[in-house]
């Protein structure tokens, strides 16, 4: 498959950002998701949540000194925006688990057609395990949006009939944005493609995917620009 048919990480982030409704409360995870905020229209007033107890943050403006007591979940320095609030971490997780976030946007190792997600461990013997807030985020957010490359580094598929890695959550993923496609997870039917990268055939997309793909009535062609 030609690399040219794949969307850039920034374009995937941009497509993700376009689908976020104005006034949403959103948690942003590691990986491609960290690129999403820069494509959010400030007029939409999307409010970002960080699990360490910050609601209403943005990237640190270049040239400003970072503050140790203002970081995000990726441990990057951030700054508060007007309207921000600080809470203790148990209340921050109540926001996540309690269904108050409109969406959590995170990376994954694998997503299954029933919405299962595996994102914290490859199950390898010498793997140092680490969960952080991922299990809480997927347990409670209204939408669980996975943003990732369509294929693993070695070329293995990541969109599966069933996950082979240890699960982060069961039946939780609602939408997937990759460098090849935009896919909704229908609890009854499985993966439903609603956008495909320009120049990529349905056969090529299926070949890169373990689970069978269905297609929405309207399938957008995703261009790089």
């Amino acid at each position: 498959m030609a690399a040219a048919k794949k969307l850039s990480r920034d374009r995937v982030a941009q497509l993700t950002a376009q689908d976020i409704a104005a006034g949403s409360y959103i948690n942003i995870g590691l990986g491609i998701p960290t690129l999403v905020p820069k494509y959010l229209d400030p007029k939409k007033e999307v409010v970002l949540h960080s699990e360490n107890g910050i609601l209403g943050l943005e990237g640190l403006q270049p040239g400003l000194p970072g503050d140790e007591d203002l970081i995000n979940a990726s441990k990057q320095h951030v700054q508060l925006i007007l309207g921000a609030s600080i809470v203790d971490q148990s209340l921050s997780f109540a926001m996540m688990r309690g269904g108050h976030l409109d969406a959590t946007i995170l990376g994954a190792f694998q997503v299954a057609m029933n919405g299962d997600i595996a994102s914290w461990s490859t199950g390898a013997k010498d793997d140092i395990p680490g969960i952080g807030g991922a299990m809480d985020l997927v347990a409670g957010s209204r939408r669980v949006v996975v943003v990732m490359e369509h294929l693993a580094r070695g070329g293995a598929p990541k969109l599966m009939k069933a996950c082979s890695y240890p699960l982060t959550g069961l039946g939780v993923v609602t939408n997937i944005y990759t460098d090849m496609a935009i896919i909704d997870v229908d609890p009854a039917r499985g993966f439903v493609v609603r956008g495909i990268a320009e120049g990529l055939s349905r056969e090529e997309l299926q070949a890169a995917t373990d689970a069978p793909l269905l297609y929405a009535d309207d399938v957008a062609v995703l261009t790089e620009h």
Binding site: G23, V47, G56, G83, S85, I86, F93, A94, G98, H100
Partner: protein
């Protein structure tokens, strides 16, 4: 632009429908959202389930809502304050259902709902009639009762200051049930003394972040005024 400011009390309570469950802040006469309750009385919704610490006093506010026959059931910890004449009449006449819950359990059940937790074991009420029909369990020699999360369709909350995002502060002990009810209701409506510009409330001074709040309204915002 996020704008949760309702221009009148009646607009603020408009979405409450017959059969709704409604949490109401307050401890005795403290922390009561009096203006929102009056707006609800005027609004007309009936067959309500009210979740509040007490059951109203005299014949005003919550007691008036009861007296008008608009409340099917009340979930509270202490309905027998002096002056709770209306509740007493209705209860003795079998015309209102009462679910009596220890106050800490009431708070914790609402918090569990707001925090996305399931049932939890609490020592409160273990071995008493409050535990009748509930699962009980002894852990490390201490007895516990299994209690269920308690959510609601709406919460009417008395707060102090709000901004257009719904960030709230409270005044003194009127804080009370506010933070927990804001979390536990699908739609939270807060009345405030003042609406301040975004950014006026210092981030560390926000007690209830706007994510838990759907609408804010000045307590003196009459119909047609903003």
């Amino acid at each position: 632009m996020i704008n949760k400011i309702a221009s009148s009390l009646s607009e603020a309570v408009a979405p409450i429908t017959d059969g709704s469950s409604v949490m109401i802040t307050g401890f005795g006469d403290s922390g009561l959202p009096r203006e929102l309750i009056d707006a609800l009385i005027e609004q007309g919704a009936s067959d309500l389930t009210i979740i509040s610490n007490n059951a109203g006093t005299e014949r005003v506010g919550l007691a008036r809502l009861l007296e008008l026959g608009r409340v099917r059931k009340i979930v509270c910890s202490y309905p027998k304050s002096s002056g709770s004449v209306v509740f007493t009449e209705l209860y003795r006449a079998g015309r209102i259902e009462l679910e009596l819950v220890p106050q800490g359990t009431l708070l914790e059940r609402m918090r569990a709902a707001g925090a996305g937790l399931g049932p939890f074991f609490t020592p409160t009420g273990y071995g008493t009639t409050i535990a009748d029909g509930k699962e009980q369990r002894v852990v490390d020699g201490k007895g516990y009762v299994l209690e269920q999360p308690l959510a609601a369709d709406f919460a009417l909350v008395k707060a102090y200051h709000a901004d257009r995002w719904g960030n709230l502060t409270y005044r003194l002990a009127a804080r009370g049930f506010g933070p927990v009810m804001c979390m536990a209701a699908k739609t939270t409506i807060a009345q405030v003394d003042d609406i301040v510009p975004l950014g006026s409330i210092a981030p560390e001074a926000v007690v209830t972040p706007g994510i838990f709040v759907s609408r804010v309204v000045r307590k003196d915002a009459q119909n047609g005024r903003s």
